[in-house]
């Protein structure tokens, strides 16, 4: 018995359709309505926006509500803002964050300007804010709540009903919608217009102190601080990160072992062992402690760490070359980093507050 080829392919297509239908909900996760224009502060580049998740005003408002909502954690005790607190520039000021499963493994990075980054998390295991957003909710060490439970709890809260209707066109709650709304809110967390920005990009020669201006020169000079080789400064804007992964030797133990293997976890490339994403330095004076493990307590300790050439190990980044900084250089670098404190955008605190 023979089937005609087109019958076979039609049948297969139908089967595929049914299968796909089973795994995809009918619910659209893309917000309806017009994308809002997010103001870009001085010193930041144009903001990349995903086509399938334009930041609408409703999506941003919904994301803001969700960001501060403790129902996204198993025992209703933690929200995203517990570790990404606006008062400390969306970090938590702790060496390691306290989640429901105890201490997390790494220092909470800021969410500010994360919308520009090609990778999220210290090891880059998410590519987009959308992909990142729901991960800590389900992480047993962090908010420890399976997505289906989060969806149920949010759906059970009547206050969200209208917000989901306005944002997505129906009151269905899905984890995809939660992710999209959180990401849209996070895209508004831009911080720039610091003293450095006014000096470098705004033509205000008085914006930096003499020590800070000297520190900037040390920062940029490849033969002195060589900081900008990873903490990027460009002609028209500066994210103070290359968004890439580097091994500085931080976290290496006896016998060259890394307790946290970092980027290697994702790529399985040996030379990525102990490499972590370059953090931005914007607002760095207010986001202590430092490094992926939060081991360094002050900016002076950070400068000294680099002045010492980091820690030797098999996979040390070649840019961690020996740098030569005298005492004044080191003080100037710390002063310069204090000039990177930018403005906080409006409407980013808990809903109902400015």
């Amino acid at each position: 018995m023979f089937f005609r080829p087109w019958v076979v392919s039609m049948t297969m297509a139908a089967v595929l359709l049914i299968v796909c239908d089973g795994c995809r909900s009918h619910v659209q996760d893309k917000p309806i309505g017009q994308s809002v224009s997010i103001p870009i502060p001085l010193g930041l580049p144009p903001l990349p926006l995903p086509r399938d998740n334009p930041p609408t005003a409703d999506a941003v408002a919904l994301g803001r509500a969700l960001f501060y909502d403790k129902h996204l954690s198993q025992d209703d005790s933690l929200s995203c803002s517990s570790c990404h607190n606006p008062q400390t520039y969306f970090t938590d000021g702790q060496r390691l964050s306290k989640g429901l499963g105890g201490l997390s493994l790494r220092n909470a990075p800021t969410v500010m300007n994360a919308a520009y980054l090609p990778f999220q998390f210290w090891d880059g295991r998410a590519l987009t804010l959308e992909e990142q957003a729901a991960s800590p909710i389900a992480d047993p060490l962090e908010m420890n709540q399976p997505h289906n439970v989060s969806v149920k709890k949010i759906a059970a809260n009547g206050e969200y009903k209208a917000m989901f209707v306005e944002t997505f066109g129906s009151d269905d709650v899905t984890i995809g919608r939660i992710e999209n709304a959180l990401a849209s809110f996070e895209r508004t967390l831009l911080s720039g217009n610091s003293a450095f920005d006014r000096y470098q990009y705004g033509g205000d020669q008085t914006a930096l102190t003499i020590s800070q201006a000297r520190g900037l020169a040390v920062f940029l000079d490849p033969n002195k601080g060589n900081c900008a080789s990873c903490h990027t400064v460009r002609p028209h804007d500066a994210l103070f990160t290359d968004g890439k992964f580097h091994n500085t030797g931080e976290g290496v133990g006896d016998l060259d072992q890394f307790s946290d293997i970092g980027r290697y976890h994702e790529t399985k490339v040996k030379t990525d062992t102990g490499a972590f994403k370059t953090p931005t330095l914007r607002n760095v004076a207010h986001t202590a402690p430092y490094m992926h493990d939060g081991r360094l307590k002050t900016l002076k300790e950070v400068v000294d760490f680099y002045a010492g050439g980091g820690n030797s190990n098999l996979y040390l980044d070649p840019e961690m070359k020996k740098i030569h900084l005298n005492g004044t250089d080191r003080e100037d670098l710390v002063a310069f980093m204090q000039s990177l404190t930018g403005e906080m955008p409006p409407n980013v605190g808990p809903p109902g507050k400015k």
């Binding site: 030797g249 290496v252 081991r295 000294d304 010492g308 050439g309 820690n311 030797s312 020996k322 005298n326």
Partner: protein
């Protein structure tokens, strides 16, 4: 082909018989350590002198790091050549350089500690045995980065912040001497002597040293000082006696 199968069978059956055997088959021979018989051992002691003019104390400038100026609480002087009023030379490394070949000495289990304190390495000069634990402590309120610039052993450097836990490392091969610097504070120096035996000493402030429990025999005893270089002499040690080895460094004329 038949031969191969037979061989395979032999191997397999050999494997089986080994499995049923409860005695471990692949035990490495425990290293045979040389044990010193106290009855036949002697010692070497001596004094080290510097015949040149006593060097004037040189002030160290720690301004590179104001925290070090405060940590040191007072004036800091260079310690690379310390001679007392009688010409005694402290901080020289004395060790047996020949005569112990073929003897395998057990590695001590006690760690040798170096402390980063007052923006100095303490001690400045130390010896340890191959494989012995080298424990690094930072007692200062500032970050240090210890950097042993080894040539025979692996070179490494590691940063230690204020309050950080001590860390441990080992040196696998004998090396005289490994210069140590702090990558962050240019004036900080130390020197490490690594030997595969326990017969070494660092001279005290009065220039004296003592090497005990040495098997009777003829040896070359060497001395190393960071500014003055090395000297050596032959010495014979008899059981239950002390042999004297004095050294004198000439000053620059």
């Amino acid at each position: 082909m038949k031969m191969k199968i037979c061989l395979l069978l032999v191997v397999l059956s050999a494997g089986c018989s080994k499995k049923s055997n409860t005695v471990p088959v692949a035990v490495l021979d425990a290293p045979a350590y040389f044990k010193v018989d106290a009855a036949s051992a002697g010692s070497i002691s001596g004094k080290v002198k510097f015949a040149g003019p006593r060097p004037r104390p040189q002030l160290i400038n720690m301004e590179e790091d104001p925290a070090c100026v405060m940590a040191h609480a007072g004036k800091a002087y260079d310690e690379s050549l310390v001679v007392d009023a009688h010409g005694a030379l402290g901080n020289a490394f004395v060790y047996i350089s020949r005569g112990l070949e073929g003897k395998n000495f057990e590695t001590p289990t006690t760690p040798v500690v170096i402390d980063q304190r007052g923006c100095w390495f303490r001690p400045r000069l130390l010896g340890l045995q191959t494989g012995q634990t080298f424990k690094i402590v930072n007692s200062d309120p500032v970050t240090h980065n210890i950097h042993p610039m080894a040539m025979v052993n692996r070179e490494w450097n590691h940063s230690q912040g204020p309050g950080d836990d001590p860390m441990t490392r080992r040196f696998i091969k004998p090396e005289i001497m490994i210069p140590v610097k702090c990558n962050i504070h240019s004036w900080m120096h130390a020197y490490i002597g690594v030997l595969d035996h326990p017969y070494f000493a660092v001279t005290k402030d009065d220039g004296s040293f003592e090497i005990k429990n040495l098997p009777a025999g003829t040896y070359t005893i060497s001395i190393w000082q960071e500014k003055l270089g090395t000297q050596e002499q032959q010495i014979t040690v008899a059981a239950q006696t002390n042999a004297t080895a004095n050294f004198t460094y000439k000053g620059k004329s």
